[in-house]
């Protein structure tokens, strides 16, 4: 697949994903903004393995921006713009607290996992690939590692309340 084909497919998927989270108009705006970033800022990225995760990252940022914009515009609490603080270029305390709470929830959830899942996550966090994990855990089939990881991730997601956010 060349870059245009990948971007076309990405647009379709991004729009569908955004529509499932926000309204259709907002979803189209989000999709358009994401595609614009990919076109304008990353024209040199053409590989599938790079372009897709990049699209996910841009999309997420755009959704966070849209969320903040809605907050600023008072779409949720109808506060005046003058009452809101000025935007900071760095991470705002809310974002920092959000991340800190997310990490704490993740630590708590991981602590509740079984020994094998913890071992698996540890190896993954250490940057080991699945084939390496397969050797380290002395398994003959890599599918076993895939299955274990799938189950452990489901368990971790359940322990975190069903969402990574």
């Amino acid at each position: 697949m060349n870059r245009d084909q990948i971007l076309a497919a990405l647009r379709e998927r991004i729009l569908a994903f955004a529509t499932s989270r926000v309204s259709r108009d907002h979803a189209e705006d989000l999709t358009q903004d994401t595609m614009a970033v990919l076109h304008e800022k990353y024209p040199m990225v053409s590989e599938l393995t790079e372009l897709v995760p990049l699209a996910f990252q841009v999309l997420r940022y755009k959704m966070l921006d849209a969320h903040r914009k809605a907050l600023r515009h008072g779409e949720y609490n109808q506060e005046s713009v003058e009452g809101l603080p000025l935007a900071d270029t760095g991470d705002d305390p809310v974002t920092q607290l959000d991340q800190k709470q997310r990490v704490d929830r993740l630590l708590s959830a991981i602590a509740q996992l079984g020994e094998r899942c913890r071992e698996l996550f540890r190896l993954k966090l250490e940057g080991k690939s699945f084939p390496e994990i397969q050797k380290l855990m002395s398994q003959t089939s890599i599918n076993t590692i895939y299955t274990w990881d799938f189950r452990c991730r489901k368990q971790l997601l359940a322990l975190m309340g069903g969402s990574w956010d």
Binding site: M1, I6, A9, L10, R13, A16, F17, S20, L48, T49, V52, P53, F56, Q57, L59, R60, Q99, R102, V103, L106, L107, I110, A111, G114, E115, R118, E119, F121, R122, K124, L125, E126, G127, K128, S129, F130, P131, N143, Y146, T147, D149, F150, C152, R153, S163, W164, D165
Partner: protein, 461 residues
Amino acid sequence: MSEHDLNKLLGGFAANTLTAEEKQQLYSAALQDQELFNVLADEQTLKELLADPAVRRRLVQALQKNSSTAPSSPWLDWFRRPAGLAWAGGLAATFFAIILSTRIYQDSVKEAGRSVAIEEETPAAAPAPSVTKPTAPSINEPRLNTQDSAPSSVPPKKNALADKMAKRETTARAMPEERRARNSATDSPLQQLEQDGLQKQTGSTSDKRAPSNEEASASADHRPASAPSTPAMTPAPTKVPTTAAPTGQVASALSARSMFYGERAEFDTALMAEEQEPSQSAQRSGRFEQKKGALVAGKPAKVTGFTKPLGIRYSLMTSETKGPHSDTDGGSTNQAGSIYLIIDVNQDGYLQVWGETESLQHHLLFPISEDEQLSSKLIAHQRRTIPVAAGHGTIILRFSRILFDSSTKQAIVLSGQSSLGQLQESVTTDETSGSHEQTTYVVNQDLSVPELMVRIPIGKP
């Protein structure tokens, strides 16, 4: 890799540990599958979180701390695996099954041993001729061998049956006095004496196991096949060797006694056992009495018919040993020095008793001559006591299925010979006074002969 399997690569996406090939597969699939794309988009949050080195380091430390705080031994790890648990469960189940089966086996062996012990406590009920006839009918030998063999070889069913019978016997043992009192009203004095003597012997043998192994085995050999396997309390009365019949006695494996009581009919076995063992079960006794009642009511042919050989059981008693409560036939009263002939037959028939004296050759003693009857009907297993006046040298008994007429009377009596083919056997029981009471069984083996004749020299019955 199928789309389902591609979902398993999501973990590597968040941790950013996928290989280039895995990434290619996952992202290509995500562009084709909206659900997978949505999941990847959701995972992006975790991916960003894990992309922070500080967070990553913190998570790794937490995981390592958990691992160090809860060190798992290889044994525990092994047990945590499903296969290990299955193995452990299987081993535990096998272990409990072995223990359970061992206990059941031990219980069954104990039960078998207990039943054998009960059987040994009650000396084997043996028909009297068993001692005199060591060669048992071959049909009974395997049964004896089975009994003599190790108790563990007894099948559980048989053990249960033997145990049940032993229990029944125990309950019956509790009321021998009652039964004796009941029997005393119906039995003859000889039977009472026999039973008393036997009971004493039972008491003595139960302590010292008086009957030797040979006797016990021989008794068991002669136990009729249809007889219940319950061991009787019979002490195997002292035997005298089978007295040779006055006429030619056919050597046979069967004894006169066993033939007298028959081999097939159940009630005959019961009768024999009834006579031998005073501690027989009340249930069997009741059954016997019922059947005996049926016999009295005139239904013996259904059970025995003419397939059974004619048989007489007789014993002679003096007036001193007979006792005052005897019932006598023949219309005479007790006289000093007179002899009492106690007769029992194994089937309904007609009886004549003839006497011989020096002065008077043949004269009818029973029924008495004045009755103008040439014979008196006897009912099977109903004992009759006939007084015989002193002075007779010989008594001749005639027992027939058919009525006697005058011609046969003269012909046979005058011939002065007993019937041919008769089997005779004498059984002596010890009495408390030291004297011996001798009972003689005479059976005609020839089924075609409707008559049985016995010549009894007085003084040597």
